[in-house]
Symmetry: C2
Subunit: 413 residues, 2 copies
């Protein structure tokens, strides 16, 4: 009845070191053989999402540079590049370094490059062959970058970040953008390669109209700087879009007269495994605005965990904590299985109500009629949002529809 | 002026792979040479805390098995064991595996052992020489564990978890405890080794009185089961205590008539680096109850990050996100330095107000008179609580008072 397989049971000290939260479990049955909790991606919806978003970008004449910070899973970067992505977007230099190490060579840092140690990583990446773009939004940073890259004998392509009042980073008005562009164009060590924005920080009444206007502002500034001859590259980049409003950005790029002159780049991240919360709702918005899209993205990421204790009537404690799953919302129980059971025989979680999470535990209020629950029952939980689930794991299992582990992927947070 | 050192700049693909969020930075100046953001432990308060809690336990006649889930940093486990700790407490079998791999051999799983794959890890650990204790709180789990360990030819020492109504795991009443103890004592494959509890789930009016009563209940049950001859070990264990109410538990153990017959074990985790939020407040409570303790614990863990953008008056965006620091509370700016500056010349963060965090960014509202802020300024942030800061990092820097990196430690989440 027990099944102690050799690779969950290393007997030398060094073999234990690879453990972390999981081990490589390829070929195993998730409901029988895998140490839980475990983060799990289902292949079918993943493949659907990869193809769907690539086709979406292409239909709008845009390139795709998926935001890699979501997953920091180079195996997924490879899948995204194989599906046709133009590059990978990242948030920090160590993230760029990890992506480059795994073969992603066109890297878009959708953030300012600050700190001499991070600049040193950028220099080394470019020397090693990376095509690295970074954003800038102020003269001091431009001056420092110009000095560092000129001294290194390199030319760093930079994108001016276009921000909004009350938003995050980025130039607040178009006069700042033009002045910064002239500053960059005049400096050795830098070349102006385009404009960058993030519509996720645009807020207010009628967000769709505001986001369209923001996309149009990006496009207008692009044309204006091109007319002034400030770009130092053949096909300047304009890039924006997270995973909630990408349709509106794609439309403003499609309608912006960019073809043949500019390189529009979309960079959603969460789309790749989608969501059971915030992004599922955002996707309903996309599909309401765009009935031509028919079906949208499919949730592909879940965390499997087991009932740990049934200490009093109506209460299950599940061995799943804040350290295992994203906490924008409490996790959502999707389906339950008996441990060692068959995927064709799911058990109900109807009426299961997650009330609280601690670092390593989840509290579930059970309905009156939940008499069949057993310690060890395996529950698949949906999360929101995926970025904060991925970063809880060093190993993530890819499974087929039968919940057999096809592959185990490393993350690089 | 620039300083591109060889080890931030690997030039072969494989060398990039070790990157994650940081690199080993021993000997470097945190304000000059280290890729930020970075998690940082200061040696002086760390050493103070290690000695302080060990002395506290010994003064109360208790052993210390610090909760390792807080840090999952085996280098800290070694420091704790060197300071006199009896063992290391952990929350999951993969955590036990990681601690054992790094040389911790006495492991207290302060949780139920569920799932056949996790039981397989436990079997392998015991076969490899670990002294592993786990908790139980129900007959089904006891039956399964008995079967698995009997079949493996091993005897698993188990601690009955003592819970409270409306709490987390654990037997709700003393009749259940006695029945479960008899069940365990009758089974091959298991031996009853003691009682376990966690006072952090005891809530209500006058928490100190309730926690004392809870500690006394542990002690009473311990004597009762011993009188009935249900323990299978020479000196049965009684263990409780997190990092907020450990003084009350220690006092009930000290006053419980345990000497020479039982092994009282305290298992706080957060004490080792203490806190700038919840646990700082909890510690004030300890010191108010126990004036004889004079000085208490000192915060030792901070996250250093840089101003990334100053996009509009009164707003700084710092390159520090939810993915870098615990989020029970917004992080607290403690001190600021100019990048490349000297630790003796700190700059003010008076009136700096963290208003919001995103995955990779922190929004700081600056006071009117904060005219000297520059992009690149380095800010040390305090966090609450430490568990959810440690798990954001794979590498943590140990620094001296001059902010030179003494060592870089791996975490094993």
């Amino acid at each position: 009845m027990t099944h102690f397989t050799s690779d969950t049971a290393p007997t030398t000290a060094s073999a234990w070191k690879d453990g972390h939260k999981g081990t490589r479990e390829t070929g195993r049955d998730l409901l029988t053989d895998v140490s839980l909790p475990a983060a799990v991606i289902q292949e079918a919806p993943l493949a659907h999402n990869l193809a769907w978003m690539q086709a979406f970008a292409e239909r709008h004449g845009a390139k795709l540079a998926p935001h890699g910070k979501t997953t920091m899973t180079p195996a997924l970067f490879r899948r995204q590049l194989e599906a046709g992505a133009w590059g990978i977007t990242l948030a920090t230099l160590p993230q760029c370094r990890a992506a480059f190490a795994e073969g992603a060579t066109r890297l878009l840092l959708a953030n300012q490059l600050i700190g001499r140690a991070n600049m040193a990583i950028a220099v080394a990446l470019i020397r090693a062959g990376a095509e690295l773009y970074v954003t800038v939004d102020g003269h001091d940073n431009v001056a420092e970058l110009g000095e560092v890259f000129d001294e290194a004998g390199l030319t760093l392509p930079v994108l001016i970040e276009v921000g909004v009042a009350g938003g995050r980073c980025g130039c607040r008005d178009d006069g700042q953008i033009a002045a910064l562009a002239r500053d960059i164009a005049a400096r050795p060590g830098l070349t102006l390669a385009g404009l960058e924005g993030y519509e996720g920080v645009v807020h207010g009444d009628d967000p769709a109209a505001r986001i369209r206007a923001y996309g149009e502002r990006l496009v207008e500034n692009l044309h204006r700087l091109a007319d002034e001859g400030l770009f130092g590259v053949a096909s300047p980049i304009v890039t924006a879009s997270g995973s909630a409003w990408y349709d509106l950005i794609a439309e403003t790029f499609r309608d912006g007269g960019l073809e043949g002159r500019f390189t529009p780049v979309l960079r959603p991240g969460c789309y790749v495994v989608h969501d059971h919360g915030l992004y599922r709702e955002a996707q309903r918005g996309v599909l309401a605005r765009r009935p031509d899209l028919h079906e949208g993205l499919r949730p592909a990421l879940t965390v499997y965990a087991q009932v740990q204790s049934l200490p009093e009537p109506g209460l299950a404690i599940v061995a799943l904590g804040k350290r295992d799953i994203g906490g924008d919302r409490l996790p959502e129980p999707l389906v339950r299985y008996r441990e060692g059971g068959r995927v064709e025989a799911p058990l109900s979680v109807a009426g299961w109500d997650v009330t609280r999470q601690m670092d390593q535990h989840t509290f579930v209020a059970l309905p009156e009629d939940a008499k069949d629950v057993k310690v060890g029952d395996v529950i698949a939980f949906g999360a929101s949002h995926p970025c904060l689930t991925f970063d809880k794991w060093r190993l993530i299992h890819l499974v087929d529809d039968g919940l057999t582990v096809i592959d185990t992927w490393e993350t690089y947070f």
